[in-house]
């Protein structure tokens, strides 16, 4: 059927193409190159942003090819799918051959061109049978189980080690399949969102990023406490923690103090500590002096709904607060003086670092030592049933790579034959990979053989 081979049907040609390593090289390089776009063009902005940034022509190109959200675009997904199909077909095609090689079915070494890497040759005065026995012992102790065959008066031995390494590549490729599957499961059934909860309050819904609206999760989340720890040296955040309580049907069913890198898990939902902020003043610690700078009150705590009575009978109260979330402008509060339930005057007071540190409010000077804010905790909420599949993929790819790179299928053949009244021993070996280390290993084996046969 020589002609049949030349003229392949279209289906066969497509199949061959889908199996080919040429396709995988093409797809890998295409993935590498196209991925660059998404790192240069900011992702997830709207059309007008791109128009402003890149001008009309480019904005149009970005729109057509979905470059603003390219990792989720149809063509990028197509490339990823092509890689999966390629791997699947390629494995199906190659696994039978790999299994055959694993069997070491052919012990007879006949100087065939089987990519023999290394050879060894020695002669001995002992009989063929005796030498074969010694060789068999040596090979089974140094390599593995030995197969034996006799042909034309010669004895052939064969042994191998690390057969399983031939499966390494397939294990590796299979893991990629798991990554694909995990990602699909995750995007089909997962949830990504977030919620901010003020200390002491309960959230009954969270924001669903995919739907763009608030949704209930089937349980409520209360934040009992939020704590921020700062580095003494730099004043930057060292750690932040929230104590969360899950409430289901009015009952507390779970409680955990979460921090960054340590989430709370409930019903498959993960609650991650991701941010924090302040939303209002709980109270202010302040000192008040008269215009003569003599202190009237020192380090008094003024609550949001309380007041501090001044010598003239008026009451100092908190009216308002401000805070720049970026931390560039100083924090401050607006204070007011009330008399007989009416506001007499107001004054802005900045927190302690700003000079002058005493600010006028009516006929008093006020220094704010500390502002005690209401904190809110910012939580990321995620549920991703694909994650266990991804974990399995991680485990399997690690295993697969270790096997495919650091193990090899090493085969050693031996022929013991009679030649000019003497017994001739030949060894030959080959390895599926790692030639240099195989050579060293074979050298050691040959040294052992030398000693065995020369005794």
């Amino acid at each position: 059927m020589a002609t049949g081979k030349k003229k392949k049907s279209l289906v066969d040609r497509i199949y061959d193409f889908l199996c080919s390593v040429k396709l995988s090289l093409g797809v890998l390089i295409a993935l590498a190159l196209t991925s660059i776009f998404g790192t240069v063009i900011q992702q997830g902005k709207d059309a007008s942003t791109y128009l402003g940034l890149y001008g009309e022509t480019w904005a149009k190109i970005i729109d057509i090819f979905d470059l603003g959200d390219m990792y989720y675009s149809w063509w990028f997904k197509l490339l990823l799918s092509l890689l999966m199909v390629n791997i699947t077909f390629c494995s199906i095609k190659r696994i039978p051959k790999a299994l055959r090689l694993m069997k070491d079915s052919d012990p007879v070494y006949d100087n065939r061109p089987v990519a023999i890497h290394e050879r060894f040759n020695a002669t001995s005065k002992e009989s063929v049978e005796e030498v074969a026995k010694k060789a068999e012992e040596l090979l089974s102790s140094k390599v593995g189980a030995v197969k034996r065959e006799e042909k034309d008066g010669s004895i052939y031995l064969m042994t191998s080690k690390g057969k399983f390494s031939r499966m390494g590549v397939y294990i590796t490729h299979f893991s990629l399949f798991l990554f694909g599957l995990g990602a699909i499961v995750g995007s089909a059934t997962g949830f990504k969102g977030g919620v901010n909860i003020i200390e002491g309050r309960t959230a009954t819904t969270v924001y669903d990023r995919a739907l763009g609206k608030e949704v209930p999760l089937g349980f409520d989340i209360r934040c009992d406490d939020f704590e921020l720890e700062l580095y003494a040296a730099t004043g930057r955040p060292k750690d932040y923690k929230s104590t969360l309580v899950i409430i289901e049907d009015g009952k507390e069913v779970a409680k955990k103090t979460i921090e960054v890198n340590s989430p709370l898990i409930h019903n498959g939902y993960y609650f991650y500590q991701s941010s924090y902020g302040q939303v209002g003043v709980r109270g202010v610690t302040l000192s008040v002096a008269g215009l003569d700078r003599r202190y009237i009150h020192v380090n008094k705590v003024l609550g949001k709904d309380s007041g501090l009575v001044m010598p003239d009978g008026s009451k100092l109260v908190i009216r308002d607060m401000w805070k720049d979330p970026a931390g560039r402008a100083p924090d401050g509060v607006m204070l007011g003086l009330m008399r007989d339930g009416k506001l007499v005057t107001t004054g802005r007071v900045f927190a302690k670092e700003v000079s002058p540190n005493m600010w006028p409010v009516g006929s008093y000077l006020v220094k704010v030592n500390e502002i005690d804010w209401w904190n809110y905790t910012g939580l990321q909420v995620a549920r991703d049933p694909g994650v266990p599949i991804i974990w399995a993929g991680c485990f399997i790819i690690t295993l697969g790579l270790m096997i495919s790179f650091f193990m090899s299928h090493r085969r050693v053949w031996a022929r013991i034959s009679e030649k000019d009244g003497k017994t001739n021993v030949e060894f030959a070996g080959n390895a599926s990979r790692n030639r240099i280390s195989f050579e060293r290993w074979f050298e050691v084996l040959c040294k052992d053989a030398q000693e065995t046969f020369e005794k």
């Binding site: 390593v21 040429k22 995988s24 090289l25 890998l28 390089i29 993935l31 590498a32 991925s35 660059i36 998404g38 790192t39 240069v40 992702q43 990792y71 990602a183 990504k192 580095y231 040296a233 730099t234 930057r236 955040p237 060292k238 750690d239 932040y240 921090e259 960054v260 890198n261 340590s262 989430p263 993960y270 991650y272 500590q273 991701s274 990321q380 909420v381 995620a382 991703d384 994650v387 991804i390 991680c394 790819i397 690690t398 790579l401 270790m402 790179f405 030639r435 240099i436």
Partner: protein, 282 residues
């Protein structure tokens, strides 16, 4: 600024690497065994000083609240120098071929010089923001950087491959052995280095994903650093397949290693300097 001793020690390591590269050059030209030994000893010495400096820095972090010093450009670069010397010295021990020590110790020198002589890069100890306080992160950085170092070694070997003329056919009449190892050996060693780097980069990407999953609830978010590490990964996957299944060898593959290392450099620095994202710290 907090007084530290590790900067000076890194400076010493840098100078030793420079000296080592000079001795390796002398060795390459003279092929004198004693010079070769001196070169290796010098490189080992630099490596030990580098190691000690990292240890001292780790102890010194206690001044600001203990952390594993792998969190900013300075710390990662001195660790990169350490990694490439480590991988190279193992290769030298296993395979010989000391000429490779020339480009490698130059790379070791350059990576320390780049951060310690650059006024824009601070060697100050800076404690970690909460998201970075994770064992996953430490494993992530270590695996990525040793992987990068292995790719750098492959790059160095590929450069030697590309500048070497054709091998002399059988024996030749030179009484001196050629300065550079045979091309076949360079080709094989360059692959070897990739075979070490690829699993490490893979582990690096996986531990990074694990960390992201614990810190943000998303194992993959296509941020530029992540994407670039994936690009690098694709390039080296292509390298391996080109070699193993498409049968590429020699020049095209050496160029592919060069391109791959370009991707490594971009993942490492380019992203920090040109693009923005979650990894802006280093």
């Amino acid at each position: 600024m907090i007084n530290t001793y590790n900067d000076e020690m890194f400076g010493i390591a840098m100078v030793i690497y420079l000296l080592a590269s000079v001795i390796y050059v002398v060795y390459a030209v003279s092929q004198n065994k004693k010079v070769g030994l001196a070169a290796t000893l010098m490189a080992v010495c630099g490596f030990l000083v580098n190691t000690a400096a990292m240890g001292v820095r780790m102890v010194e972090t206690q001044k600001v609240g203990f952390y594993v010093p792998l969190s900013n450009m300075y710390e990662s670069m001195v660790f990169f120098a350490w990694s490439i010397m480590l991988i190279y010295l193992i290769f030298e021990y296993v395979y010989g071929y000391k000429v490779i020590g020339v480009p490698v110790s130059i790379l070791g020198f350059l990576s320390i010089a780049f951060v310690s002589l650059n006024p824009n890069i601070s060697s100050e100890l800076s404690p970690l923001v909460p998201a970075l306080q994770s064992n996953w992160l430490t494993s992530h950085v270590i695996t990525c950087f040793i992987g990068y170092a292995a790719f750098a070694l492959s790059f160095a070997i590929s450069i030697l491959y590309l500048i070497k003329g054709d091998d002399k056919k059988s024996g030749g009449d030179d009484d001196k052995p050629p300065i550079l190892p045979p091309k076949k050996v360079l080709d094989e060693l360059s692959y070897k280095a990739v075979a070490v780097g690829f699993p490490l980069l893979t582990l690096g990407i996986l531990t990074g994903a694990a960390w992201a999953n614990y810190a943000w609830g998303t194992y993959w978010s296509w941020d530029p650093k992540e994407t670039w590490s994936l690009i690098t990964w694709f390039v080296y996957a292509a390298f391996l397949h080109a070699r193993f299944t498409a049968g590429w060898h020699g020049k095209p593959l050496a160029w592919m290693s060069v391109v791959g290392f370009g991707a490594v450099i971009f993942t490492y620095w380019g992203v920090n300097f040109w693009l923005s994202g979650l990894h802006s710290y280093g």
